[in-house]
């Protein structure tokens, strides 16, 4: 077969990345991102995204060249990278030139003059030639990065990632550190600017990470060996210390972070909780339940009806009693809906459950059931949990007085969510190690065979489905209490998709994976206004990319990891 010319392939790469870059521009990312700096007064996030595109064009072209030529040829690699970056830049330049002549805004809302300003670095259309120039340089750098020896490439990549991470969260760190007192506040102002990192901060983080990373690659093995050489008690206490540290951070964070971040953390905790629930259904038993939100809604409405002092409240039952009831109701409805549908399999089940979810939402929001569920007005005035006794029940519309500590702030609810999540994690972990967990995984792998080995499919699936429903109900109940009100419009399919996505990103069947997934998919977009505008776009892309590249997730379940470890050991033996 005739091999493609590497230059032609570089041109193609450049053009494709250029089109992707235009996509990013038109979707509005560049403009929105350019309001935030990576390095203050030097480079905005928007510019950074475009630079990253050109850089990766160079990198991809360079790698492609290596595979076409079957070896690294530095000159060819660099030329390919340069060409690819150049063409990416040219495509963007073309966009600017065309945009100056034709009003693209008639169709694409984001083809604004601001966008063109960002693209030309505020130098006007006349200076559009700098775009391909920058592209070529970035592409060259991208190509060069491939040629770096491993020992350098890794620390530099890590440092870059870390700097970007810090830049993203500079606002958050700044606030947290300033709250800590004057010394920290000074440090914060040195490292973080109003909208991004300061130049000094960037350098400190960059060099710091490189130093740590280099040190680790030289000394890391020794440290690891040191830990394994510790006596058993020592290792145990080390582990206890690590866990205690995690617990300390997890419990202390909302106290120091201020109300906005506390709210975000509560949301993350809630989604962790629901993720752990759906993880039983989807991760263990392999049942894709797109109607998860139905049980979330059922839990929320149950608590709402039982505790609200609004128009639709039935009784002001204490939160602590209402929540278990909500969980049971959700579980029972899981059984009701699960019994018939669990006979159908795979993708059909997903669509059927999606139908359920939509039916529940439509019914809850309809005028038909409005006398019971408030219709589109929803249920308001949900009583906060009270540590202590509740005063006497006077009238439906009068809240009962809490004699004791009222847990009204998001931080308080956070602890309830965390405790619930810990309980669910424990339950999930115990179940996975039991006969039931094995039966679930067997069903996930091959349900015919599982059935032929004596696993009662309906019974086993139903249990997974009910537990998932119960935990969804718990999530909904806590959510309702947190917000204080429920609206049918917030019970959209998107909630289910959120939970499904975070499980997939974290790793199906993996309990720590759920936490990682929730932080990545729920926490980060909430913290970053800029990103949150594009969160669903990014979710979509993430789902596809995860399926293509890493179906086992960021934090694969234990079995997968054990296996990876196993192959490593084998490889070690062979070497």
């Amino acid at each position: 077969m005739k091999k493609e010319n590497f230059l032609w392939s570089a041109v193609k790469t450049g053009l494709i990345v250029g089109v992707v870059a235009i996509f990013i521009c038109f979707v509005g990312m560049v403009e929105v991102f350019s309001k935030r700096d990576v390095i203050e007064k030097l480079i905005t996030l928007g510019q950074f995204v475009l630079l990253a595109a050109m850089f990766s064009a160079g990198f991809i072209a360079s790698r492609h060249t290596s595979s076409l030529l079957e070896k690294n040829k530095p000159v060819s690699n660099l030329v390919a990278g340069l060409v690819a970056g150049l063409f990416t830049g040219l495509v963007l330049a073309l966009l600017v030139v065309v945009g100056a002549e034709v009003n693209l805004r008639a169709v694409f809302l984001n083809a604004t003059t601001t966008l063109y300003d960002v693209l030309t670095l505020d130098k006007g259309v006349g200076n559009v030639w700098i775009l391909p120039l920058i592209g070529a340089v970035a592409g060259l750098l991208g190509a060069a990065s491939l040629l770096l020896p491993q020992i350098l490439r890794r620390p530099i990549t890590q440092a870059l990632v870390f700097v970007i991470f810090m830049a993203f969260f500079s606002g958050l760190f700044r606030v947290v550190m300033i709250n800590q007192g004057s010394d920290m506040s000074k440090a914060a102002k040195y490292l973080f600017g109003q909208t991004g990192l300061t130049l000094e901060g960037t350098l400190i983080f960059f060099l710091g990470v490189i130093a740590v990373s280099m040190l680790w690659s030289y000394k890391g093995k020794d440290i690891q060996a040191g830990v394994t050489r510790l006596p058993k008690a020592g290792r145990l206490s080390l582990r206890v210390i690590v866990y205690a540290l995690i617990a300390y951070v997890a419990l202390g964070l909302p106290q120091v972070s201020g109300p906005f971040i506390a709210q975000v953390i509560v949301t993350v905790a809630l989604f962790v909780l629901m993720g752990l629930g759906l993880n039983i259904t989807l991760g263990f038993a392999g049942l894709l339940d797109l109607g998860f939100v139905a049980f979330y809604a059922i839990g929320a409405y149950t608590v709402g009806l039982l505790t609200s002092y609004g128009a639709f409240g039935l009784q002001h039952i204490p939160f602590w009693v209402a929540v278990p009831i909500a969980v049971l109701v959700a579980m029972a409805s899981g059984a009701m809906l699960g019994l018939p549908v669990l006979g159908i399999r795979g993708d059909y089940l997903a669509i059927a459950t999606l139908g359920f979810g939509e039916i529940v939402r439509l019914l809850a929001g309809s005028d038909f059931l409005a006398p019971f569920f408030g219709g589109p007005q929803g249920i308001i005035g949900i009583q906060k949990p009270c540590l202590g006794t509740l005063g006497p029940f006077i009238r439906v519309d009068v809240p009962r007085v809490c004699n004791g500590l009222e847990l009204g702030k998001p931080q308080d609810i956070y602890y309830i969510a965390v405790v619930s999540a810990v309980i669910i994690a424990f339950v999930a972990w115990r179940l996975r190690e039991s006969r039931l967990g094995r039966a679930w995984m067997a069903i996930r792998e091959d349900e015919d065979v599982a059935e032929a080995l004596g696993v009662n499919l309906i019974q086993t699936k139903l249990l997974a489905y009910m537990l998932g429903a119960a935990f969804a109900g718990l999530g909904g109940a806590i959510f309702a209490t947190l917000i204080g009100s429920i609206f049918a419009t917030s019970m959209q399919l998107i909630v289910s998709i959120n939970v499904v996505s975070l499980i997939i990103v974290g790793g199906m069947g993996s309990i720590p994976g759920v936490i990682v997934g929730a932080i990545a998919l729920i926490g980060l977009p909430e913290l970053l206004r800029e990103v949150s505008e594009f969160r669903f776009l990014l979710y979509g892309a993430t789902l596809i990319i995860m399926m293509l590249a890493k179906p086992e997730g960021l934090w694969p379940s234990q079995a997968t990891r054990r296996e990876l470890h196993h192959t490593e050991v084998e490889a070690g033996v062979k070497a």
Binding site: V427, S434, D446, D448, V449, E451, A452, V455, H566
Partner: protein, 276 residues
């Protein structure tokens, strides 16, 4: 000798195609019986009828006095029928040990509540189950490979693990669907000995589908031949080898018995290459 399983007039159709047509069949207790026939003769379909994988359309199957055709596969497995598959169907993403533990599912009784709480009874049960799984693993010669993910085991080991998993259900009747597919002559010989061992030491009745004539003729006490869903012959290996209808079904009219074995070798080679 008593009869373990009796099938009368078993028929299975797929649309217009009659895959199994009114087959009568009997398996005496503690025997090794086989079913042979050209590809597509309906052997695996017949297997599926017995294990409840696909319900048969007509006829009756009675296992130890219990009619099975209205039972689900999991109920049938609890009666004491277990099987392996032509194209190995292990739980690929689970470890070898976990695969066997799933086979023990029907003997474990702890409820999910007690599993969550972790009562001593549960621990006890799990310990016993684990020991039993290890024993089975050793029995099929996979000692020390319990932590390996099933999909990473070598081909022969996967076959053996599948048998171990089937044995974990403590079957009275074990159905093996082309167990020697993809094995070299050496492994095939081991397998033959192993199947005998299952019967002689554990007292399990064996019913196998096999293409490898050497295996079939070597260990079967009784052979049934299926062609186009119909039973065309049955009897002892010696009788089958002489039966003109069998030879005709395999090679067409006028072929010699000699050729039959070679044809089969070729045939199973084809299956092997597909499996690998």
């Amino acid at each position: 000798m008593t009869t373990l399983l009796t099938a009368t007039k078993v028929t299975k159709r797929f649309g217009g195609l009659v895959a199994v047509n009114a087959v009568d069949f009997e398996i005496p207790e503690k025997s090794i019986v086989s079913m042979i026939g050209p590809n597509g003769a309906g052997k695996t379909t017949f297997f599926n009828c017995i294990t409840g994988f696909g319900k048969c359309d007509e006829g009756e199957i009675i296992f130890e006095g219990t009619p099975t055709q209205r039972l689900r596969p999991d109920q049938i497995s609890r009666l004491g029928i277990s099987r392996t598959y032509q194209n190995i169907r292990l739980f690929a993403e689970m470890s070898a040990l976990e695969n066997i533990l799933v086979g023990q599912h029907i003997f474990l009784h702890s409820s999910w509540m007690s599993a969550v709480i972790g009562t001593p009874k549960v621990h006890q049960e799990e310990r016993i189950a684990l020991a039993e799984a290890q024993r089975l693993l050793d029995f099929v010669g996979l000692k020390g490979q319990g932590d390996m993910m099933a999909r990473n085991l070598p081909y022969g080991a996967q076959r053996r693990l599948e048998i171990a998993r089937a044995l974990a259900t403590k079957p009275k009747l074990l159905l093996l669907d082309e167990p020697s597919a993809g094995m070299n002559p050496r492994e095939t010989e081991d397998l033959t000995a192993f199947i005998r061992q299952l019967r002689d030491e554990l007292g399990i009745t064996i019913f196998l589908i096999e293409h490898h004539m050497r295996v079939v003729m070597g260990i079967s006490e009784h052979i049934t031949v299926l062609d186009y869903g119909e039973k065309i012959a049955e009897g002892t290996p010696a009788e089958i080898q002489k039966n003109p209808r069998v030879i005709e079904a395999y090679l067409g009219r006028g072929a010699a018995t000699e050729g039959m074995a070679t044809a089969h070798e070729r045939h199973s080679d084809k299956t092997n290459s597909k499996l690998r």
